[in-house]
């Protein structure tokens, strides 16, 4: 009987505490995997900023996971005030579910992307297979590690970057582009489900010759290793713009629109832009990006997803990544 009473007390306490959480000033930021370190630092900075501005304390609940999975969690009722995901496509899915009003991508500056990144090659010390550009990756005997574009937002950027390079190399001859991308993916040894899994496979389990990685992940891996790796920057890559958005349905219900808006706006402040740079994200503020010129190859040619070649996420997704799309055809049984 005592046990049952204990259970009741626990449940009541739980219900009460979650009730209080609603009343208190607190927001939830649902984000994707590799932003963990950045938002830890940013949240501390924002709390100070908010206290100075309004005199109030603010709690920030931070959640990380695969970008697509996080988007689904929000659609299925995870009460996020803001999302900071890897792809505009995942945020569009939340919009389609009716939780975000259309036009969110122009709500904040720079396509609602306060920081950007790109895809680079992480290779072993000395680059023993001299992998310098996308063309080298399709050569025989090269082992590539990349997450699966179907399960990882980041990997879709990898795939599109390779496609963009091939498009330039073969002057838009689609047959040749497909052949090249198929060859490249034929060299893939392990298709992990997420970016962190791939990094683990390449760094800890020492598989493959090259890891196709987010620039920030590649820098993190180098910072954590003792000179085992180096970054090779290809001649052309893709401009990854991980966007941010307010979940209108949630902030209106909770009355947290003001703080949520400020939370995302402050990402564009000089302080936050420098934090992004320190965490190896390219600051969208060009002036501050220059401060990190020794970290990022700022001359790298970057193709945007809205380039006519891809025509935005909706189109790219429909053509390349849906079931039976171009990516699946690469792996169709030969």
């Amino acid at each position: 009987m005592n046990k049952i009473r204990g259970l009741f007390i626990m449940l009541t306490a739980f219900a009460l505490s979650s009730g209080f959480a609603f009343a208190a000033d607190e927001i939830t930021n649902v984000s994707y995997d590799p932003t963990r370190e950045f938002y830890e630092q940013y949240n501390a900075a924002f709390k100070k900023h908010w206290k100075g501005k309004t005199g109030k304390d603010i709690g920030i609940v931070q959640s990380h996971g695969g970008s697509g999975r996080q988007a689904r969690a929000v659609i299925e009722g995870n009460q996020a005030d803001v999302v900071t995901l890897a792809l505009a496509y995942d945020i569009s899915a939340i919009e389609k579910a009716g939780l975000i009003k259309p036009g969110w991508q122009s709500e904040f500056p720079k396509n609602s992307a306060p920081y950007t990144s790109t895809i680079v090659f992480l290779v072993r010390k000395g680059n023993p297979k001299s992998l310098k550009d996308w063309g080298d990756l399709a050569k025989e005997g090269v082992g590539i590690i990349t997450p699966n574009p179907k399960t990882s937002g980041g990997a879709r950027w990898n795939y599109l970057a390779a496609w963009a390079w091939a498009d330039k190399r073969y002057n838009g001859d689609e047959k040749k582009i497909r052949e090249f991308v198929a060859k490249l993916f034929g060299n893939v040894l392990v298709l992990d489900t997420g970016a962190r899994g791939s990094t683990n496979t390449f760094v800890r389990n020492k598989q493959g010759d090259v890891l196709l990685a987010w620039e920030n992940e590649a820098h993190l891996a180098i910072a954590e290793s003792r000179g085992e790796f180096e970054i090779a920057t290809p001649s052309l890559s893709i401009l990854a713009e991980p966007p941010v958005a307010i979940i209108d349905a949630v902030v209106d219900k909770r009355g947290s629109r003001e703080v949520a808006t400020e939370y995302l706006n402050y990402l564009y402040s000089d302080e936050a832009q420098r934090l992004a740079g320190k965490n190896y994200y390219r600051p969208s503020n060009a002036g501050i990006a220059k401060e990190f010129a020794s970290v990022f190859d700022l001359s790298l040619k970057l193709v945007n997803i809205d380039d006519p070649l891809f025509g935005g996420w909706e189109k790219a997704q429909r053509l390349h990544f849906i079931d039976g799309g171009v990516f699946d055809q690469l792996y169709a049984k030969k």
């Binding site: 040894l189 298709l191 598989q207 079931d323 792996y331």
Partner: protein
């Protein structure tokens, strides 16, 4: 239903049956029905196209063969483990007994990452096999290892209590009558533990079929080779293709239900047989 005809020894049939039905409905029937419902949104032709896609079929093959191999492996080693734990007294026996449940307590992703680190061609164990050209991690062997690990407790824990209660006098009688040790094992001990072994096999097989967390780290996830069906379901979900994902899941569910049902029938038959002894 028998309770109505005869006065049951323990009262409260109505109450307990009601609770059972509610429990089964809330936790099993309703969620399962929602899966069926979601899959029907595809329409028959869409459903058939999804589940007969070459890559999905390859995924089924990988999932079922690896789960079967893992369950079989566990039957053998699980029986051995249970036997050692019950029949011998040695220092550290309690500790070993306690370790059996560990695979259940460990988050499966952690197990997957740890096993991959050990069994990759650069890992401690994997590097011993690599010179012989045997690849464990990032091959089907790796999937089987991961599945065997997460399902170890099933066979051990189902067989153990039966072995503990086995009356040794039968074996003694056999020995007095001059039967060899092998004969005693196969004619006296084995028939007694067969039902438990089958139950353990069924549980391990079913659990292995649905396992996702540990496998995705060790498998390599290459289409047609090491891509398991649950991963295909996940990748369809990531693309927001709910209908396709549930269609693949539904076929797995139906197949495992049929297999489990058959195992249960065989098991019932076997226990009936053992009861006659």
């Amino acid at each position: 239903m028998r309770a109505r005809g005869k006065k049951a020894i323990i009262p409260g049939f109505g109450c307990s049956m009601g609770l059972t039905v509610a429990f089964v409905s809330l936790l099993i029937l309703i969620p399962m029905a929602s899966i069926v419902l979601e899959a029907t949104r595809l329409g028959l032709s869409g459903f058939v196209r999804t589940v007969t896609d070459a890559r999905v079929l390859a995924g089924y093959r990988v999932s079922f063969t690896c789960a079967f191999a893992a369950a079989l492996l566990n039957c053998f080693f699980g029986l051995l483990l249970a036997w050692v734990l019950v029949r011998y007294r040695f220092p550290g026996r309690r500790l070993m007994d306690g370790l059996i449940e560990l695979p259940f307590a460990l988050p499966t992703a952690v197990a997957g990452i740890a096993l991959t680190a050990l069994y990759s061609d650069k890992g401690w164990i994997g590097s011993l096999f690599a010179p012989a050209g045997i690849k464990i991690a990032y091959a089907q062997a790796g999937i089987i290892i991961a599945l065997t690990f997460v399902t170890i407790p099933f066979v051990v824990r189902t067989v153990q209590p039966v072995l503990e209660q086995l009356d040794k006098s039968y074996e003694e009688a056999g020995r007095i009558l001059g039967a060899s040790k092998t004969r005693i094992f196969f004619r006296i001990v084995f028939p007694e533990i067969t039902p438990a072994l089958l139950t353990g096999f069924g549980l391990a097989f079913a659990r292995a079929l649905g396992e996702y967390g540990s496998v995705v780290f060790i498998a390599g996830n290459m289409p047609f080779k090491t891509e398991i069906a649950p991963l295909l379901i996940m990748s369809k979900l990531e693309g927001f293709s709910y209908g396709e994902a549930t269609a693949v899941a539904l076929v797995m569910l139906a197949a495992s239900f049929v297999i489990m049902f058959c195992i249960n029938r065989v098991q019932a038959h076997a226990s009936g047989f053992a009861g006659e002894l």
